[in-house]
Symmetry: C2
Subunit: 242 residues, 2 copies
């Protein structure tokens, strides 16, 4: 018989973390929260670090279900596109000295290993702006170019989430989750250029888009703009061709 | 202060499971093992179900590290391309009646939740054929079209792994992991047609491949074939263009 040291009797925790990208004409932003400090007097000398919205999962909860709950509780965001992209399981990922005080204030055994399953989410900031829930200290949108040092390995998780967004932008038609319901082709092109970090020729870009049956021209133009109003388009997922 | 039922004191386990695809001119195969039955007399009436190679992770082990170890222990496969594609966390995923007897024979608390992180792996069966390690009951390559009912949610994991392979075949240049070191363009085309489930025009396919600097023509032709020997090519990852 073959015996070995299994995890069956070791404590191990699972969390979910969410990299939520918000987009408007000013660029791509990420939703960060400040760590909630315990208000029992113990937390007075703990420095709050910004982090991705996340928490331990509940014992009978699915992973996506947990991501939705945590996001709702911490940021009041609901009903947005969410996709799992990677599980992070470095055995020491929550044992960094910088994270110790905060973990100690929250958990009885702060050294125990936590594996986190990460989701990315997409939301158009033109249609919608989340208000922080009272549970979290504060919630704020931070430009992707101005991300500070985050708690735990959250900078790595964020980079990896952006990589997933970049890889799936075209093949999964998820760019439309970041745009308003009615958008111009300039907005679509600007989003592609920002995420893929390259310039497209305007005429070629429009020629390619016109071949996509799922990008539907509307009988409607922009309103309230200084320049010549551009035609509006909408996304129809039922028209996606293979 | 906000309290709720956290997982901190609940038992939860993490495993890794590997969907290993092997390819040769006969098609795409998946590596399955038969569940190892305890040889302590208790296992006599337990039906062994085929499953993906997988096991619980060790307490100080990273996820990829665990996948490599488990694969080596169960199948003697080593040094192959492995990539994480999804974590499966349905709270009831190991509680199906069909899986109960086997779990009971192995674990003290067979009802406890197990979240598994799945990897897909790629190997060319022309270059190499794994021998089962003595620890596992048996290891065998099964054609993707003939996969039987597997233990737990392993059929779902396998489908999802194939979907990941299909999505990443072109963008990540992983097709070459499935081909022999020296391959013909017919072999490359046959692999694409099989995985992507569509036919390519031979001339267009070759025209496209000739534009890829990472597919390098060799000064060498096939040997020992009945038909006119075709030119051989190799993959050079350093020549990948953006």
């Amino acid at each position: 018989m073959y015996f070995r040291f299994m995890m069956e009797h070791d404590a191990l925790h699972i969390s979910v973390d969410c990299v939520i990208f918000g987009y408007d004409d000013n660029g791509l932003k990420v939703l960060l929260i400040n760590q909630q400090l315990p208000n029992n007097g113990l937390g007075l000398d703990i420095k709050s670090q910004p982090q991705l919205p996340g928490d331990l999962i509940l014992i009978n909860e699915g992973l996506l279900e947990a991501a939705k709950r945590v996001l709702l509780e911490l940021t009041q965001l609901n009903g947005i596109y969410l996709k799992q992209f990677h599980a992070f399981g470095d055995p020491t990922r929550v044992q960094d000295a910088k994270d110790r005080a905060w973990l100690q204030s929250l958990r009885t055994l702060p050294d125990q290993r936590v594996i986190t399953v990460a989701y990315f989410g997409l939301v158009s900031l033109q249609d919608f702006s989340p208000k922080p829930a009272s549970f979290a200290g504060s919630v704020h949108w931070v430009d992707l170019n101005d991300i500070p040092a985050l708690a735990f390995d959250h900078n790595e998780i964020l980079s990896s989430g952006f990589e997933a967004l970049r890889e799936q932008l075209e093949s999964h038609h998820i760019s439309f989750e970041l745009l308003p319901k009615k958008f111009t082709l300039s907005q679509l092109q600007a989003l592609y250029e920002l995420v893929l970090d390259k310039k497209f020729d305007k005429r070629n870009f429009r020629k390619n888009v016109k071949r996509m049956p799922h990008v539907v021209p509307l009988n409607e133009k922009q309103k309230g703009v200084m320049h010549k109003p551009a035609q509006l388009f909408s996304f129809n997922p039922n028209e996606i061709s293979e």
